[in-house]
């Protein structure tokens, strides 16, 4: 089993109790009126060559988590340990400063959702893709050029494209440019922040296939952030489900999607419309809306909408516990959830 293999070796990335709070200000100069708990004590690991999917609805903190992990946002608390080589000592990304952080960035890259906003409209593809080389002063001019051409070919673009500007490309091609930019420094780990959400089905499939083949070829590890469960399940080895800044469930992709151990994951999965007209599924819809993430009260954050809610759920935050080996849930009634029924494949 892949999972076990991974567990044997030290992970590439180890996130420990990562927190990111945003202050909410009232008035012009007022003190913060509260904090948005965008990411609240999140811990997980990403192994070498592994894809971890991070799913959740909008506002659950998955994008913030990805960016905080890369130090693109300053974490409020927590550590992110990165082990560049298997036998090397881990480096704390959150503590790295200056040049050290800059060097670390070569290994840690990001691909964005918005294929328009993620490319500087004033730069040619060559400049965009080559920026990483320039930032780290890698190679001579011609070496850089060769590298750029190589990477463009790798992501399925033709070398001639490098003299054009982003607006001359279609959405799918732009996403390929974004991937090329992330790849140019030969990273080990890429945060894919909803890379296919804005794309059409046919293009989405192209990009997913590309990411898969790149992983195979280059041994990349992905943190794949998305809200489309089918996509996440397809590409991920393991999945973490987030709700209001917390991970509520984490485990192997198929297990999470077939036998979810958290009522929220279950609802999420059951809400996905099944593309099979013979299987009309009346979705078990949740009542109420997502509560505000500003200074949330103690207790399970899903308690207010949970069909299985107990009294104790409102009092204390249930910890993430390993219900099955490698499959974690933050629900006190995880075992019962499992028994309801498996989510059928379609």
């Amino acid at each position: 089993m892949v999972m076990q293999l991974k567990q044997d070796k030290p992970p590439l990335i180890k996130v420990e109790n990562l927190c990111k709070f945003f202050p909410v200000r009232r008035g012009f100069f007022g003190a913060p009126a509260g904090y948005v708990h965008a990411v609240d004590c999140v811990s997980f690991t990403v192994g070498r060559g592994e894809t971890v999917g991070l799913v959740g609805e909008s506002g659950c903190g998955k994008t913030t988590a990805g960016r905080t992990l890369l130090r693109l946002l300053e974490p409020t608390a927590g550590r992110v340990l990165f082990r560049p080589k298997e036998d090397a000592d881990p480096v704390d990304i959150t503590a790295a400063q200056g040049e050290e952080l800059r060097r670390l960035r070569r290994n840690l890259q990001i691909v964005f959702q918005d294929p328009i906003g993620s490319l500087n409209p004033r730069m040619t593809v060559r400049e965009i893709v080559g920026e990483g080389l320039a930032a780290h002063s890698i190679g001579s001019r011609s070496e850089r050029e060769d590298r750029i051409v190589d990477v463009l070919k790798l992501v399925g673009l033709v070398p001639e494209h490098r003299f054009r500007y982003p607006h001359e490309f279609s959405g799918g091609q732009r996403q390929r440019i974004g991937i090329a930019r992330a790849l140019i420094l030969d990273p080990q780990f890429i945060v894919c922040d909803e890379p296919v959400s804005a794309l059409d089905v046919s293009i989405q499939a192209q990009i997913i296939s590309l990411l898969e083949s790149l992983q195979e070829e280059l041994g990349l590890a992905y943190l794949f952030i998305a809200h489309d469960l089918a996509v996440v399940e397809h590409i991920s080895n393991r999945i973490a489900v987030m709700y209001l800044g917390k991970i509520v469930e984490m485990g192997p992709a198929e297990e999470v999607c077939r036998v979810p151990l958290h009522p929220y994951s279950r609802t999420l999965l059951e809400s996905v419309p099944v593309p099979d007209p013979r299987r009309k599924v009346k979705a078990a819809s949740l009542t109420g809306g997502v509560p505000t993430p500003i200074d949330p009260p103690p207790g399970c954050r899903f308690a207010g909408r949970c069909p299985l809610c107990l009294e104790e759920c409102g009092q204390m935050t249930p910890p993430l516990r390993e219900v099955h080996p490698g499959h974690w849930s933050a629900c006190v009634r995880a075992e019962e959830t499992e028994k309801v029924r498996a989510i059928p494949a379609y």
């Binding site: 960035r105 070569r106 990001i110 328009i116 993620s118 500087n120 004033r122 920026e131 001359e168 992330a182």
Partner: protein
């Protein structure tokens, strides 16, 4: 594009004003007050034609209504000559020469657009005036733009309390109606200052007026650009803050910058004109389009010397050119325009 060419012509004319104009700006001929444009003749008194035009000497008498009647003295012809020696000047402030582009021999005078009340050539004064009027807008707006970019950039980038404080200042400046602020600032300056210093004061005033709007918009742009994915991508690639600002944030405000400078220049020109029109700006004998136009604030004057409106025509033309140029640049700079196809 045509507007760009037109503006280039205007600015070149301003640079070479002393060469292109037949007379210096303060050259008076008091016997020719409010002379109408000198008629260019192609046909001699005896009916034969000349290829190059010539002019006659003119003189005036008052008619019974105290209107000035100019008559030509047909006894001698004064052909228009090119590269004619006249008063000494320095081309580009460097090369001393007596050569003017065109002119006629004394004692005849050539007034292409007529003369003012002291017989000063309006065409020459418009050329000289363009130096002040055209540069003052450009310089004033550039200065205000630098201030605006700086303040807006700082506010947008640092955010928080700095942003709050700076934006409150900006709002206070913006609250005051522009023209009154212009007058108030003028009033705050010493009254009796020379025209040369006045020029710099006007630049200062104009830049003080213009920066607030720029700062606000730049701040907004920086604020949103800061969050753009490609900015984050650059940081993820290991770029420092300074590089990100210089390479990724500023260039993307630049199109706005250039467009807004272009669109703000006319307001600078108009601001100077307004001040000079009220007699609070550039003083005679120095020429600016505004102080020349001040003479047109009189109904009777316009009726009998419609040429006093020429500086206004020039202001209008330049302002229009800048507006068209600004619009054109805005279209040209907007890369989204091309990308936006048809959405289904």
């Amino acid at each position: 594009m045509a507007s760009l060419i037109a503006l280039a012509v205007f600015y070149l004319a301003a640079v070479f004003a002393d060469f292109l104009s037949p007379y210096p700006y303060d050259n008076e001929e008091r016997s020719h007050p409010n002379a109408p444009p000198t008629p260019l003749r192609f046909r001699r008194a005896d009916g034969s034609a000349r290829f190059l035009p010539f002019v006659y000497r003119t003189s005036y008498t008052f008619d019974e209504n105290r209107g000035r009647v100019y008559v030509e003295d047909r006894s001698a012809e004064y052909p228009i000559r090119f590269f004619i020696p006249g008063e000494e000047h320095r081309i580009l402030g460097l090369i001393p020469t007596r050569i003017h582009f065109f002119g006629v021999d004394a004692p005849a005078r050539i007034y292409l657009l007529g003369a003012d009340y002291l017989g000063r050539d309006r065409f020459s004064r418009i050329l000289y005036g363009s130096r002040i009027s055209l540069s003052i807008g450009l310089v004033g707006v550039s200065v205000s733009f630098v201030i605006g970019m700086l303040v807006g950039g700082i506010a947008g980038y640092f955010g928080g309390a700095v942003d709050n404080a700076l934006m409150r200042v900006v709002e206070m400046v913006m609250l005051i109606p522009r023209f009154y602020l212009l007058l108030a600032l003028r009033a705050a300056l010493p009254e009796d200052i020379s025209s040369v210093r006045m020029y710099f004061y006007i630049v200062f005033i104009l830049s003080f007026l213009g920066w607030a709007g720029t700062a606000r918009v730049v701040r907004g742009m920086v604020l949103s650009l800061r969050e753009q994915d490609y900015v984050i991508a650059a940081r993820a690639l290991g770029r420092g803050h300074l590089w990100v600002i210089v390479r990724h944030i500023l260039p993307n405000t630049l199109s706005y910058a250039i467009v807004s400078v272009t669109l703000a220049v006319p307001s600078g020109i108009l601001g100077e004109s307004a001040l000079s029109l009220l007699g609070l700006g550039i003083q005679e004998p120095y020429a600016s389009w505004g102080n020349m136009l001040a003479k047109a604030m009189n109904v009777a004057e316009i009726q009998f010397n419609p040429e006093v409106l020429w500086p206004g025509a020039f202001i209008f033309a330049v302002v229009m050119c800048f507006q068209f140029l600004g619009d054109g640049l805005r279209d040209a700079f907007d890369p989204m325009m091309e990308a936006s196809g048809v959405k289904s």
